[in-house]
């Protein structure tokens, strides 16, 4: 049976893992390669490394980090942040990533999705969408506003229509972050996740808001997510993927166990 994936996310800034609340107030949370290996050992089904403050000077640091992290990692490894061209993506793949996550670059140039997919396959292209409910819209959930990662201004796209376009252009998966829920540990935005999951045929990874095991069970059932991403829940020894998955299994969620 296909299992629900628990994905450990490492937000990386200048070669260090960090965690912030709603994209600000960053706290140091360790070395990316060490943290990724630990998460894989502790049962994470996949590792995502997001370079949250990618700059031109930071590219080499990121590639070194990716290379070091990939070396001893034998689960799927996705890298995002600062990938602006097919060439950027190629460098990240050559450094050892299996997938790239693109966000603002895909919004700026949607052809990038198919350009990367043509060389590396659709399975290697994850389109990340950061969305915030729009209380003024007719449907505040389906018409949630899309933001550029970490940005403060909406880009004028609506979450469901953009997710559908990304799929049409050849995205392999959608990584959907609820900006309302992110960092709150108050639960995923299940309505938002379900709205996107029902609209596309590719898998949707839910992100933002994980705090308890029940939150994960909820986003897999009510949110119709295929995978869920967590960062803060795993940091500082709060929980491991294995213990999370053991509890999810007890709640009837199909997960990869033993792992």
């Amino acid at each position: 049976m296909l299992t629900k994936r628990i994905i450990a996310c490492l937000d990386v800034h200048a070669g260090r893992v960090v965690k912030g609340v709603q994209f600000v107030d960053l706290i140091d949370a360790g070395d990316p390669a060490t943290q990724a290996a630990r998460h894989a050992r502790e049962g994470a089904d996949e590792i995502v490394l997001l370079d949250i403050t990618a700059t031109h000077e930071g590219r080499q640091t990121l590639l070194d980090t990716v290379r070091r992290t990939a070396l001893e990692l034998f689960v799927p490894f996705c890298v995002g942040g600062g990938i602006k061209s097919a060439r950027d993506a190629e460098q990240v793949f050559e450094a050892g990533a299996d997938k790239v996550s693109i966000n603002s670059a895909a919004l700026a140039d949607p052809f990038l999705i198919s350009a990367i997919g043509a060389s590396f396959g659709a399975q290697a292209v994850v389109v990340a969408i950061d969305a915030r409910r729009d209380p003024e819209a007719a449907d505040p959930v389906r018409e949630a506003q899309v933001f550029v990662h970490g940005g403060r201004k909406p880009v004028g796209r609506r979450v469901v229509e953009w997710a559908c376009e990304a799929e049409d252009r050849g995205a392999g998966e959608i990584l959907l972050t609820s900006m309302d829920a992110d960092g709150t540990r108050a639960g995923f935005d299940c309505e938002l996740t379900a709205a996107v999951s029902e609209a596309v045929s590719i898998p949707v990874i839910a992100s933002g808001g994980a705090g308890t095991v029940a939150h994960f069970a909820d986003v897999f059932s009510r949110g119709k997510a295929h995978a869920a991403l967590a960062a803060s829940v795993f940091h500082f020894g709060v929980s491991t993927s294995r213990s999370l998955k053991e509890e999810l299994a007890e709640a009837g969620v199909p997960v990869r166990l033993p792992c």
């Binding site: 049976m1 296909l2 299992t3 629900k4 994936r5 894989a40 089904d45 990939a70 070396l71 001893e72 034998f74 689960v75 799927p76 793949f93 050559e94 450094a95 050892g96 299996d98 997919g117 060389s119 590396f120 396959g121 659709a122 399975q123 290697a124 392999g172 998966e173 045929s201 590719i202 898998p203 295929h226 995978a227 990869r256 792992c259």
Partner: protein, 201 residues
Amino acid sequence: MITVIDYKAGNLTSVLKTLKHLGAEAIVTDGDLSLVESAERIVLPGVGHFAATQRLDATGLTGAIRAAIARGVPFLGICVGMQWLYAGSTEAPQQPGLGCFVESCTRFAESSEKVPHVGWNSLAVRNGSRLLKNVEPGEFVYFTHSYKGPVTSDTAAVTHYIEPFAAAVERGNVMGVQFHPEKSGETGLKILRNFLEWETN
């Protein structure tokens, strides 16, 4: 020496890194037939579209691989590399596969489930598989694909998603896995180790 075939279908870094981790010496070729002729083992990875295998024909690699297989060289196809072992795939009907297995690969049937099939799914291993030796019932491996081979007498492991399909094939020295052993944690490493230790009878 393991010869890894590059036909520009995705990224080889993961496969090469994993072979190296297991102590294997690997060399990549995108058309040097002598590296196929001298190969002790051959790995054909590949993700993406079945049409990419056209390059194997264009470069003469198809014939060289066919000859190597006939000599008994252990061969492992991964993902599209496994699908290529069949007669073809409905993904690119004009493009023939190697034809080791007479069936064709087809897309998952329309259903309420998502296609592609992405994630960790379990294996039901047939008795006597050498490639999947010591893989216990229910061990998980990582898949990402929309097309798959049918379950036949050559199937070494069955996985269920929408319908039962061939997660692995094995006939003599010809082996294929639909999943990604290089991305399947300890189970994947065990399977690759079995391939590296596979000896011709």
